[in-house]
């Protein structure tokens, strides 16, 4: 035993620190880009800072009215929502991947996303109007649908007080498939206008949401992320396999339930806000693990930043790519995700050969 052996992990800790710092810097630069540039007008940092300072009561000199509207009412809430939704999706993905010991798991596998979609489309087809805490009926029913499906999947996968992970995965796929079928059935019966708005929501969009939306979703996302990070050690142990986690002191059933509910809450909040944005939960933890290693202390904190970053840029793209109309952000992330995975598969193949 020598000193080098005792001290060598320092290197990887430093590298992980650099990765987190780099992500943080990238997030700030991206916030600046997303707020200053846009279809309507380009603003300087000073103008943006002026608007923020005025709104926070730090400056008494009012900026121009249309500047204020574009920056404060349109761009900043959209940036904030992208960061929140991206972080929530990425962290939910990281949780489910550790829980299922499967790097391909995300919020689709436990039925969260299909359940949310069904809830949202039910609201649209019933045409009923309700609002609660700044959220409209589609958002509310999507939330209920997501949590309801997860609860159903969990109950169906339960055998004698225990939940086997493989049974959970299969039940999730089956229930998700059913939810998708019902969603399609309801969509076919909608009139042209409702169909169009439902499709826009389903494919994911961050448009047309104000601060009240951001504030309504922030608590769920914050609590979900905090709980996830508090369980970083258990997540590391679980990703070695359930039995090993048990032998190393993790109370399995309680921990699995807490993590599943947390993942469902995070995914539900994001789907409710912005529809189904695919692949973020899948790629982001994957990339963070590649950069900073598989330790969940870093995977989770890194996913918060990288998830927000990815969605912010996907949203910037979706605003710019088609001039006449906005492309749903879910389409952008799915294209990025699909290409990313094809690249990954190509590399895997060459290594196998």
């Amino acid at each position: 035993m020598n000193d080098a052996l005792l001290n060598s992990p320092v290197v990887s800790v430093r590298r992980a620190g650099l990765v987190l710092l780099g992500l943080l810097v990238a997030v700030f630069i991206s916030i600046w880009v997303a707020t200053c540039f846009g279809a309507a007008e380009t603003y300087s940092v000073t103008e943006v800072a002026h608007v923020i300072a005025f709104k926070l009561g730090l400056s008494h000199e009012a900026p121009a009215a249309n500047t204020m509207v574009i920056i404060w009412e349109l761009r900043l809430p959209r940036v904030a929502l992208a960061l929140l939704v991206g972080a929530a999706l990425a962290v939910a993905g990281a949780l489910l991947q550790a829980l299922f010991e499967n790097p391909m798991a995300d919020s689709f596998v436990v039925g969260v996303s299909p359940g949310a979609a069904l809830g949202g489309v039910i609201a649209a087809s019933l045409g009923f109007q309700a609002s609660f805490g700044g959220l409209n009926s589609v958002t509310l029913l999507a939330f209920v649908g997501a949590l309801g499906t997860t609860a159903l999947v969990y109950q169906l996968a339960k055998r004698g007080g225990k939940v086997s992970v493989s049974l959970l995965l299969l039940t999730g796929l089956a229930v998700g498939g059913l939810a998708t079928a019902f969603t399609t059935m309801l969509l076919m019966r909608l009139d042209a206008f409702s169909l169009r708005s439902s499709m826009n929501w389903l494919f994911g969009s961050l448009a047309n949401h104000g601060w009240n939306y951001v504030l309504a979703l922030a608590p769920y996302t914050a609590v979900g992320i905090a709980v996830s990070i508090a369980f970083w050690r258990e997540l590391n142990l679980l990703s070695l396999g359930e039995e090993t986690a048990h032998h190393l002191g993790v109370p399995l059933e309680r921990t699995k339930l807490i993590l599943l509910v947390t993942a469902a809450l995070l995914a539900a909040a994001s789907v409710a806000a912005s529809g189904i944005i695919g692949f973020v939960g899948l790629i982001v933890p994957h990339i963070v693990r590649k950069l900073a290693g598989p330790n969940h202390r870093l995977v989770l904190t890194g996913s918060v930043l990288a998830g927000g970053l990815l969605l912010l840029w996907a949203d910037l793209f979706s605003r710019q790519i088609v001039m006449s109309e906005e492309m749903p952000i879910g389409v952008i992330t799915s294209i990025l995700g699909g290409l990313f995975f094809l690249g990954l598969l190509a590399r895997t193949k060459s290594r196998l050969a």
């Binding site: 035993m1 052996l5 005792l6 060598s8 992990p9 990887s12 800790v13 010991e101 499967n102 790097p103 050690r233 590391n236 142990l237 990703s239 070695l240 396999g241 039995e243 090993t244 048990h246 032998h247 190393l248 002191g249 993790v250 109370p251 399995l252 693990r289 290693g293 598989p294 330790n295 202390r297």
Partner: protein, 266 residues
């Protein structure tokens, strides 16, 4: 002093299928006990009951004199370390990170490993011949290397009881010998209670203080290797004819297999 483990007439199974019937045994500090028996005789199920993964349908499991179920998972993990049968890790943790996770029952919060943790981890890496592999990702290791990582993690856990399920099944000759030597040393020098499921009828009788012979979900015989390894016992349990010889250097018994057709010729 009470036994580390005391198992009293347990039955256990999966659904309606009963695998263990009326199994009793005890495990004391400072002894290395081998569990032998044919495939499907309930060896692994016995370990699942002892580690709390499977609740027995009858009987009692006492850990240091108290019912196993009366402890929290964390408290059990501070007393009992387990080396499960071979696993295939998905995520690219390094060998050191995985061995360090053996310290999890002793750690809390955001903390990084203490100097005590680092000392135990370094010791375990050295004892399992993993020096030089510390920074390799575990999902790129061979089956034998993984098995040594699992043993190292259990040793780093620093418990007074160690349970192992076929820890040498993927190991080469040199490492098989090294692991049994290590288990013997833990029992004899560090007063650890070691129970090891094994199919190795050379090394288990050579190193174990006692052998437990299982067959069809029951304990058939318990005793010293000489008492257990008899032609009669092995024919009854494994259905094969064998010769028992004594190691000329240590006097411990070992099993010599004979081919059935040679028997017929003779």
């Amino acid at each position: 002093m009470s036994a580390a483990y005391q198992i009293d007439r347990i039955s256990a199974g999966y659904g309606s299928r009963n695998v263990l019937q009326d199994v009793s045994l005890d495990l004391r500090r400072g002894e290395l006990v081998g569990v032998i028996g044919p495939n499907g005789c309930g060896k692994s199920t016995l370990l699942r009951v002892m580690t709390g993964l499977l609740a027995p349908s009858g009987g009692e499991v006492l850990l240091e004199g108290n019912p196993l179920a009366s402890y929290t998972r964390r408290l059990v993990a501070r007393q009992v370390a387990v080396v499960p049968q071979s696993q295939s890790p998905i995520f690219a943790f390094t060998v050191r990170e995985v061995v360090e996770m053996g310290r999890a029952p002793w750690q809390r919060g955001w903390n990084t490993p203490s100097s005590e943790d680092k000392r135990l981890v370094a010791g375990a890496l050295e004892q399992c011949d993993l020096l030089g592999l510390e920074d390799r990702p575990v999902n790129e290791l061979s089956g034998g290397e993984l098995q040594r990582v699992a043993v190292a993690r259990a040793i780093a856990q620093g418990t007074s009881i160690l349970l192992l399920d076929e820890p040498t099944s993927h190991l080469d000759l040199g490492h098989q010998l090294a692991i049994f030597n290590l288990l013997h040393k833990l029992a004899a020098d560090c007063n650890v209670a070691v129970l090891c499921v094994s199919h190795d009828l050379h090394l288990a009788p050579e190193y174990c203080d006692r052998l437990i012979l299982m067959g069809r979900g029951k304990v058939v015989a318990v005793g010293t290797p000489k008492e257990i390894l008899t032609q009669k016992n092995l024919r009854a349990i494994y259905g094969v004819d064998v010769e028992i010889h004594l190691n000329p250097h240590t006097g411990h018994p070992y099993v010599l297999l004979t081919r059935p057709e040679e028997k017929e010729k003779a």
